[in-house]
Symmetry: C2
Subunit: 296 residues, 2 copies
């Protein structure tokens, strides 16, 4: 199977699992179920769970062990997008080619649908840990990595830096700090939680930390470039929204050319950091290149 | 030590622990830390963790085991209040005698501070389970009870029923359903998660389910009565907000007199359901009576 086929297969497995998870959740109230499902099943690249499954594959772990955690991370990612799109935050009307959650269900329901997805992510992980007494420690470690990355020390901390930097010019250091938390933390947690579940050694962990850090930066730079150069139809959202929200991005700070150089450089560093895994690391390397060239 | 002294002692232990938890959390960004702390340390009765500690005491468990879970529930309760108070939800200006979170920090930060508290609750519980390998199963069970009660199957489901019932007259069945989820679920989870950590037997669990169900209903009825008859200074929030938001309450549906009868009746049933615990249940019985007579 070539890279694209494998990628499609993994995304499909994730979509099917997410669909099953949301459908088997006992939600007595139809509105909240519909609103959660609307955003969770809106497509998207499923990058975070794909990363988790691919790390698992590289390390020879059991994908069934990692899958619930990857899906939980996707729920957390989705909730963060719902809240980010709210009028009091970025006030976006489109996401992944469809109206944003609050445009369809209203703000109050969107707030609660986000809350419910965050909550369900932890419910799913708790259940996975409970059902596997033999690996309970590794699964709790994975959960702790994820909780830490998604909370105030991680993603939410980055969202706040983002909010507070609007309409201000910030330093390159703060821009890096912001993205390390806002986008990078959850990408890193996808990699490291999977590694924890696969009982990775300290030295494997160290390589993966470097891989995830570099990949997270590259991913964000590409996002910033796409917001300027991308095709809004392919992206599924309006382009130029960073500029109209007076956001600080790699492009506003470094310019387009320099940003593209940085993108290539970080991607290369990500790839180098998993050289030690040899042939087994080839999917992750191709994934890094795929993300570099993506159009959405 | 009499009931009031014991209650004060427990609330103090909870306040000190919450303060320690929020202060030791590594939050790189000051705004989010301040906003989380503002609402978490705004006082309140600490009913949910007090219930958890008191069930633990009754069952002869170790309070150190239960405390992190009680505090996590208080974080979840606090996040739900922050989001409930938002302009797109109940649009309240005061809570626990101070301006609501979004009135002080703005809506965007209030959304994120709520998210961060929900997230931190699960981080705290995960850590507590990780650090106690011998009791990891009981702690994961407690976590699962809490996750289930706070999500779309529980509290959030109730909040949605509440939203959708505004400006409509609803049936007594739906009113009970709403409160069973909105307020009852987390009160019940406080009782049952503590019992799970203390390795309670099936029959003990059954008695506690009944106790928690009755207490939750009584608590909500009293809340509805206080919104009509209470003193806004003692309550720390405006009274009459249910009426001005066209909310369905026990008082609007049953009238004040009938609501007071129901309050007494449910309180009595709660007390009866723990008769089997004899002298050991006395604090919980006094707590039920205390909640019946509370002024805030």
């Amino acid at each position: 199977m070539n890279f694209k086929e494998k990628l499609r297969e993994r995304a499909e497995l994730i979509n099917n699992t997410l669909e099953k998870m949301i459908d088997e959740k006992d939600v007595p109230q139809k509105t909240i179920y519909t609103a959660m499902r609307y955003s969770l099943m809106a497509g998207g690249k499923r990058l975070r769970p794909v990363l988790a499954l691919s790390v698992c594959d590289m390390l020879g772990g059991n994908p069934d062990d990692v899958l619930p955690f990857g899906c939980a991370i996707e729920m957390i990612h989705t909730y963060s997008l719902i809240h980010d799109d709210l009028p009091c935050m970025d006030n976006d009307d489109y996401r992944r080619g469809r109206l944003t959650n609050h445009k369809v269900f209203g703000e109050a329901v969107a707030v609660l649908a986000g809350d419910a997805l965050l909550n369900y992510a932890f419910e799913v992980m708790t259940k996975a840990a409970l059902e596997d007494p033999e690996n309970v420690k590794a699964k709790l470690e994975a959960m702790y990595i994820i909780a830490n990355a998604s909370g105030a020390s991680g993603m939410i901390g980055g969202q706040i830096i983002d909010l507070e930097s609007e309409n201000k010019k910030i330093s390159p250091e703060l821009l890096h700090e912001m993205h390390k938390h806002k986008t990078g933390a959850l990408i890193k947690a996808s990699v490291l939680s999977a590694a924890a579940i696969c009982h990775a050694s300290k030295s494997v962990m160290d390589s993966l930390v470097r891989f995830a850090d570099m990949l997270g930066l590259a991913f964000q730079i590409k996002d910033d470039i796409l917001d300027v150069e991308g095709n809004s139809e392919l992206l599924g959202k309006n382009i130029g929204s960073d500029a109209s929200n007076s956001k600080n991005t790699f492009v506003t700070l470094y310019g387009l050319e320099k940003s593209k150089e940085m993108l290539e450089d970080y991607t290369e560093q990500a790839i180098e950091s998993i050289n030690a895994f040899g042939e087994k690391g080839s999917f992750l390397k191709e994934l890094a290149n795929y993300l570099l060239e993506r159009v959405n």
